[in-house]
């Protein structure tokens, strides 16, 4: 009887998460585009062959991973600093905490367009500053070598507060006595960070890492609005590529193949990260 109360929620989640995956698996084995008159026709895995030989797919996969790893790495570092700061007691902490939360609460598209203006050449403030210091025009959003870094800035700005709060929650579970005892034993405050705080924070770091890596791997809003994937598709993410295939090229079969492909790559990446974590634990154990 009580189990029945679970049913509506599970059904809805199953419908919205499960049905698409099954549908994509099916679509990826069919040609379904304007060429076929938007009718699905089995094509014996031609989509998958195309995916494996699609340079743009692999380039996007590398770009998406690079974006995810660099963004999340920076976010963790900055978030740790913010969490340590907010964990201390000082006047006005509540207001500052609300101010740091604000970037996270705003819609991504709003500030994606904001960043586009900030990085604008030649009128944006960054270019103005560069000119003031006598630097060359940076062309931040039209130089394929550096545009992706601008998208990293946008992502770090927006999602760092989220990780900071998770780490803050972790910090608040560490009992004050531990630090007390450490000090009585003659430990230096700085050493406490590496000997107590970071080891005990590990599960929260892992949680934030896993969650954010998966989300950053699916980055879409920020890229679509800030750069549209350009210049020269240098910032295009896998999600954006599959979106373009579906909505611009109207090739639903291939779009679905890209999504399943991305999902498989993400799973592999998660397994890899997990294995590295396990490995490092074993290493640590061996050192003790």
């Amino acid at each position: 009887m009580i189990q029945l109360l679970l049913l509506p929620a599970i059904l809805l989640v199953g419908l919205v998460f499960g049905v698409p995956l099954i549908r994509y698996a099916w679509l990826s084995l069919h040609a379904d585009s304007v060429v076929t008159g938007l009718v699905a026709i089995p094509n014996n895995g031609a989509n998958w062959l195309r995916l494996i030989n699609d340079q743009r797919f692999w380039q996007d996969a590398i770009q998406t991973s690079r974006f995810a790893v660099v963004s999340v790495g920076l976010e963790l570092l900055i978030a740790l600093a913010i969490a340590l700061l907010l964990d201390q007691r000082w006047r006005g902490r509540g207001v500052v905490r609300a101010a740091t939360l604000l970037p996270w609460a705003l819609p991504t598209t709003v500030m994606a367009l904001g960043w586009r203006w900030i990085f604008n050449t030649p009128y944006g403030p960054i270019e103005q500053l560069a000119k003031l210091f006598g630097l060359h025009t940076l062309n931040i959003l039209s130089n394929p070598d550096i545009t992706w870094l601008a998208t990293v800035v946008g992502d770090v700005w927006k999602t760092t507060p989220f990780i900071a709060l998770i780490l803050l929650a972790g910090l608040q579970t560490i009992p004050e006595d531990l630090y007390e005892a450490f000090r009585l034993e003659g430990g230096k405050p700085r050493a406490a960070l590496f000997r107590i705080t970071l080891p005990l924070l590990q599960p929260y770091v892992l949680l934030g890492l896993l969650f954010r890596l998966a989300q950053a791997f699916g980055v879409f809003d920020l890229i679509q609005v800030m750069t549209g994937g350009g210049p020269a598709s240098s910032t295009e993410s896998l999600a954006l590529y599959s979106y373009i295939n579906a909505m611009r090229f109207l090739d639903f079969g291939y779009s679905a193949t890209i999504m399943i492909g991305s999902f498989i790559l993400l799973l592999l990446a998660c397994i890899l990260v997990w294995a590295i974590i396990q490995q490092s634990r074993i290493l640590k154990g061996a050192l003790k």
């Binding site: 599970i10 419908l15 609300a98 009128y123 929650a169 809003d221």
Partner: protein, 272 residues
Amino acid sequence: MIRTRNIWIIALLIWSLSPLFWQVYTSFCSPESLIQPLSNSGHRWTLDNYRQVLTADPPFWRYLLNSAIVGISSTSLTLLLAIPAAYSLSRIPAKLARLVKLLMLGAALFPYVLLFLALLELARSFNLGNNLLALSFPYAALSMPLAVLLLASAFKDLPVDLEEAAKLEGLGLWQRLRWVLIPLVGPATASTSILVFLFSWNEYPIALTWLSRSDLLTLPVAIARIAGTSVYSIPYGPYAAATVLGALPLLALVMIFQRQIVSGLTQGAVKG
């Protein structure tokens, strides 16, 4: 010691707020002064950008209203399904509950943007496009994992004796939920609601593909559409005004519900 801390606090505030202040500054600038920022013409400050945004067709408040409708209906639907599910999770055998929680965690980790194409097909076949209330279904499903996990841990914290006592008093399941249990998980419900509301207010890819009529757009889509209309010259002044107007309700929400947001996110971390 305290001085270095103040430097860090100031750095944090600059990092978080300066991009926003730049938007505020831009929104009050006339187009000419944006192009020549250092020139000192007399026409620097203007309210034209705001005037333009508020009198556009459809006017800007329409998008705020649409986002609010979607936010409220999605939050209600989520709570309606998540509260019974969370209660059930805290009462069923631990093994089954663990399995369901793992599934929910997997769904929460899934980059949901990959679902948009199939969801669009579903919307087309059930005729749900261009319908603000229909967006509640995908939004409730996408928020369900977080909502169920947060609420389940709140139900789990309630003492079992309490419910036993209510049962002895002759209260049925519905009455126990309505009069005893749900009031006690109030704080967790508030946290869940504000997080779900923020998610629905801000969601982009699904709203982008489900809505096409310009008077039905939610705020994120409306703002992105400004970017799409003219790739080469974006009307940054009016756009910045739109950003500021769009950020104000969220600023208010964050200020009012800061504690709920923080406890929602942190409870999710500690107990998830």
